[in-house]
Symmetry: D2
Subunit: 361 residues, 4 copies
């Protein structure tokens, strides 16, 4: 008997479901119309005061069995859904978000090298520019290995104000000179919007470091430059935060953005950070931007470079970044993670031998 009663009651619920559905859609259509009018008036769509009033009215009217809290919760969900509908057009404006499965941003560098077109590009070089000799050795190595993009870091964000802060503009000059000699492209870290004019003379790709990932003044300024920007994930940023940081740049007009996964801060002790390789397929799902993997800072130790290089390529990333130095033992920064030249050559062999999947996800 109870089974039959349950069947009857379930049919009643089915009917109520459809009635609620109808009302929800009717409500949504009206809310949409209001949104259209508000947009005409230049009024913000989200109106918390109005929501508070509606919730009050509903709570006064509520007879149960749902408690006021539940009613409030359910209607907040309905409000959110309506708002989302109203904002659909607005949302279409989230520039970096993937809108179609094959949506892809391809970045073309001055020498014709492309990132995001299905190839796997290696970005390499010393942690910091230290001298012409050091950079010249690195440049020759990259040219020999067919690597096109060279690190030319002249401003180093450091934890301590007393640590080596980079050679500044002199470092950029060295990097440019070496790059020109070997036909390479220079990527260099920018730390403040005020550096843009000067750096633009030397640099092909701007690099935003982890510590500046949410420096919105800098991001907005980079929305106005013509060079591509590598945006490095902060070691504690969620993917949502990284994507919105990219949006700060894109909103300014520059959509030539490359996202970089670089390891996150966790309890792990064996590595400097923890490579969050899942970020590659997730960022590819959510955005149409190229994604590369920093295999140096994620590990913080050179004996992981080869496995991390293989993993990066198998993950569907568009490239990797690795530090290499003619004499890592005496490097002025990041001595433990920069590769020796012979290690770098082995890395390149292994990376070339690894297949890149057609899609990351």
């Amino acid at each position: 008997m109870p089974e039959q009663t349950i069947q009857t009651l379930r049919r009643q619920i089915d009917e109520i479901n459809l009635q609620i559905l109808e009302l929800l859609n009717k409500r949504a259509a009206i809310a949409s119309e209001i949104g259209r009018l508000q947009t005409e008036l230049g009024v913000q769509l989200y109106d918390p005061q109005r929501e508070a009033e509606m919730l009050n009215a509903l709570q006064l009217a509520n007879q149960g069995p749902f408690s006021n809290d539940v009613v409030k919760h359910l209607f907040k969900e309905i409000f959110k859904a309506s708002l989302a509908l109203e904002e659909r057009e607005a949302r279409a404006k989230i520039i970096v978000q993937r809108k179609a499965p094959n949506d892809t941003t391809v970045i073309t560098l001055p020498d014709g090298t492309q990132i995001g077109n299905g190839s796997f590009e290696v970005i390499a070089g010393a942690c910091a520019v230290e001298s012409f000799e050091q950079m010249d050795a690195v440049g020759a190595l990259l040219a020999e290995e067919g690597v096109k993009i060279m690190r030319g870091m002249a401003f180093k964000p450091r934890t301590s104000p007393y640590d080596f802060q980079g050679l500044g503009e002199n470092g950029l000059k060295i990097a440019r000179q070496v790059a020109n000699k070997y036909g390479l492209v220079v990527v260099s870290e920018i730390m403040d919007a005020s550096q843009i004019p000067m750096m633009s003379d030397y640099v092909d790709i701007f690099w935003v470091g982890a510590r500046n990932m949410q420096n919105s003044f800098l991001l907005k300024a980079l929305g106005k430059v013509r060079q591509p920007v590598i945006l490095k994930r902060h070691f504690s940023a969620t993917l949502k935060e990284l994507i919105y940081s990219a949006e700060y740049i894109a909103a300014g007009g520059n959509t030539q953005i490359i996202l970089m996964e670089r390891g996150i801060r966790t309890f792990n002790e064996e590595t400097r950070n923890t490579l969050d390789i899942g970020a590659v397929p997730l960022l590819k799902m959510e955005t149409h931007l190229p994604v590369i993997v920093d295999i140096s800072h994620s590990a913080g130790r050179r004996d992981l470079a080869i496995p991390f290089g293989r993993i990066a390529k198998a993950s569907g990333a568009d490239g990797l970044m690795v530090e290499v130095h003619p004499n890592p033992a005496v490097a002025m920064s990041d001595a433990k993670q920069q590769l020796y030249f012979d290690q770098f050559k082995k890395l390149m062999v292994e990376v070339r031998a690894t297949a890149r999947p057609e899609r990351a996800f």
Copy 2:
């Protein structure tokens, strides 16, 4: 004009809101009745197959403007709210959950000491029982300081199988002997359900260590003992996980449970763990159980014991746990965090001088 139209449309929405509200409550009442019948039949309340069918029907009927995804999302929220209502009675069975503002579990120990009655109890002693002399020194100190509850750890969970694993039953004998001599209560860690009968001869309070916080076999077995249980939070457990682990014990019939916050594993480098003092008010909000703070393992260094002791008391906790050893430098485990006797005395002075608030939240 648009302002007027917006006003008109908003009144329409207000009406629809009320209609939806009425239907939601009607639906909830029927769902509740189904839940009652299902409970009679001994059928699980949550029926994902039925939900899948309802969602299918709604998606077939949906004409927009809400997308099927939005419809699915909103109805899942409605289902959840209904299920929550159906489970209200079931939820009333979550034994450890606070049901009223003044709900309080007070635990009375064999010597009459109470935990959870508004006082602030100190649990202290060496990390491990090492010898009679060591324990005797500690026992004398506790008696002198008016501390009632002594650590008597004879089974030590250790990372390495080759580290000191405790003195076993001999350690328990020593602890009992010293406790009897000084009129103290013994708390001791249990690692496996099979130890219950033997340990029951020596131990006044069972202690479940972090590593066993989700050992459901052990928790269930402790649901059957007459002694209180201190349940230590795993260093990576959410509060929800800790509360459900307490529920495993309570479900077996033993509600004499003391929760222990002991620091969580984070990126912090200066301390062994990170004291999550917010857990005290949160656990007190959610449950009616006493909550104590382990100021030794959270810090992992003795120079933080005094500030942590003050903080623990000001947080509204029911007590603290601290390690003290006659000669920490030669302790067989946790040498860096066990207090010297004079430090312990200073700690007691500072803790007595700190006010305990009437309520934790």
Copy 3:
């Protein structure tokens, strides 16, 4: 002039360096001999009391310029190095530690399948045994895809005592029956040492879940069984903790251990856990045990299974574990992460297409 003086002073330092070196080695040889004698006497090598006395003597004798703290620190390092030397033989007893580059544990299952021999094995099946029909469908799928090892989980560790806890021995019977029908090997989670005799009748591989990774009673008991053991990393365990947990099993006599990386708990929001793929090369460097990757619990969402499968194989792991269910939407646990059958088939295609490197590091 100062440059010359610096040169002279440096030569003096070079000489002193060599004198210190000589004394250090002389000291080490004597300490070694003491260690040998202590081992004969059955005395523990580490003697904190003796260290304390030596440090006291040194501090009394110290005239600077090094402060007593520095002297203490340097001699503690020397003590540690000496102790390490004394323990070299003891260390050789850390059974699971890799001792030579080609050191490899190969595990042979009852049907002849091998793990750790360079192949890449897939372990698959539903999160939990729910019914014969469900398991039969899974078994047929595995047989069709050439998968040899089937999940047959009958005891489910759950956060809440009121969640589905598995079918118990009946579940094992079903798993065994289906495995026999399709020529599969059964792996099943054990939660307490007391289950060993009963489970041994049904199970080919024991599985220790994350919550029991440091349950030393269970680990020690599994050191005595003849079946291989999969040891799953706790989501907050360091690699060192995982390796020592394996050592608990190995120390009991069972070295047939498979380590499983399964994602760690971080701040990431998009996934249930964060796949720590770096654990694969690191565990391979440190131990000679096979390492597999759980691509279901690390992601907690089925749309990441294919990229994670590729990544796992490219990392040099010895296999992967994945959950698959005939109807994930109605699964009694882990509904969001179990694969549909067609997804599983696609995963197998992609995994077969990915190359496994000869070495993980």
Copy 4:
């Protein structure tokens, strides 16, 4: 017999210890002299090339039983200790570091209010300046409660470029006007060095937000202003990183720095961040700067404000920061954590009732 031999061997070790000690100190004195000469020459003290050469020489000379790795490790420790000695003077230049137990920076605000002198100051106000009416209501409340320092946030760092970014200079005008009306001091967040001149007209204390904690360009620029600076810990920064960020400001000449603990990003789900209260005593141990606790962002929920306020004061902090809004439900940001006025009044009662310890550690 072996016991006697052990005694004899131990006496030999005691002698060698003293010889090593003597050589170490002799070595240190020479290294110190080299350091003095290098400082005269303007040469960096740390010379990795020289270290590499010394290690090579030692490894060539090493006859064992210590392995070359151990020798390398021990000498690296000796080098580090020598370098530390050489840098002792340099270290004396770490401006923010505590040098004596009673070292204290006291900051005096324009109205004479002092922070760091043993009192407990409350900083309060809305998350953002939204309107004159809103700020006027807050100002009146603060004046009534005797609070001296008001939030006047006009530039809001936001995750999304499309979220409310603050009222800009108009917001600062409102804040200044309200502050003048009620005799309050204004603290306001600065996001870029270029804002300093404009903001200086309105603001009594600059606030560096978490996202800019390692923006060295901004920090250096704030080293040149006359106003005090509140430096908020990034939610993932170690204490060392925070202290060095303060040093960037101090190195520029401005030592009027207040450190702010504000909760760290962990796996906890119940709170926005996890209040790391241990940071208060640790920062006080390490620096002489005032430390305050942000009880709003650490919890992210207003029902924890009162316990967190009590805890902050008991921890020995110099003050707390809390958000309060006339109508939190409609606030343009952080709606869930801003206090209602009556909650704020209750918080003030509880905070006044809590004793502040004389010392944090």
